[in-house]
Symmetry: C2
């Protein structure tokens, strides 16, 4: 039996930065300041679809997604949290968790595939991640 | 204590038709033949975000979503299943499960907010739903 290890997809790595490790997932921040946009990547090798995960991992992914979504809603006071597992471009399983506000870029349409990323201001990013980390550990 | 009952949002009702009742969710087919596009609506009153569901309901929603996604992938031989809980327009909690094929309309971008719905051919719809129901009860 050959055991393959989890390796983060190169494009996901380039487009995001690590925030923290949860039990199953890497929690990452997208390098795009247009929306508060997080991503969970289950650290399991060769996963494409959420339903390919082992049952316990499916439950963990739900738990961690909802944990992060709750914290993100609290921190951003978002009108709506958008959650999506799409993966048409990058097939490695990853779940987007995005805070949306009325009138934000492309509202009320989805964010994916829209326009070009805007870099974060370093101070704003630091402040956002501090608030998020505090809320996640509350 | 006032107990409010689940009532399907009028727009979700207009844009989709009932396929079957799962344990928690209504499984519905979108009235748009451009993609095999299903929707799960948890039958709980006043729900907007998945993380507002009771913990057991969160687990059920994951289970039913993955059950439906697995069946949809088998029936359609899709390249990728797209799963999303967005709700910027219709706030009642609903989860999209969509079969995507390389080169389908708007590939590899998401389907939401793209163009206008195409009605199903009745025979094709019947055939698709028969295959899906068979797979769901397998």
């Amino acid at each position: 039996m050959i055991v393959t290890e989890f390796v983060l997809d190169a494009r996901l790595e380039k487009d995001s930065e690590l925030v923290t490790h949860l039990g199953l997932c890497q929690l990452r921040l997208m390098k795009d300041a247009r929306w508060p946009w997080l991503m969970l990547v289950p650290q399991r090798a060769d996963m494409v679809e959420s339903f390919e995960l082992a049952p316990l991992d499916q439950a963990m992914l739900t738990f961690e997604t909802n944990l992060v979504a709750t914290a993100l809603k609290t921190v951003t006071k978002a009108r709506k949290i958008n959650i999506g597992a799409i993966g048409n471009v990058v097939s490695q399983l990853h779940v987007h968790v995005v805070a949306r506000h009325e009138g934000d870029e492309n509202w009320p349409r989805p964010i994916w595939g829209h326009g070009l990323a805007t870099p974060w201001n370093e101070d704003e990013k630091k402040s956002f991640l501090q608030s998020l980390s505090k809320e996640l550990s509350a």
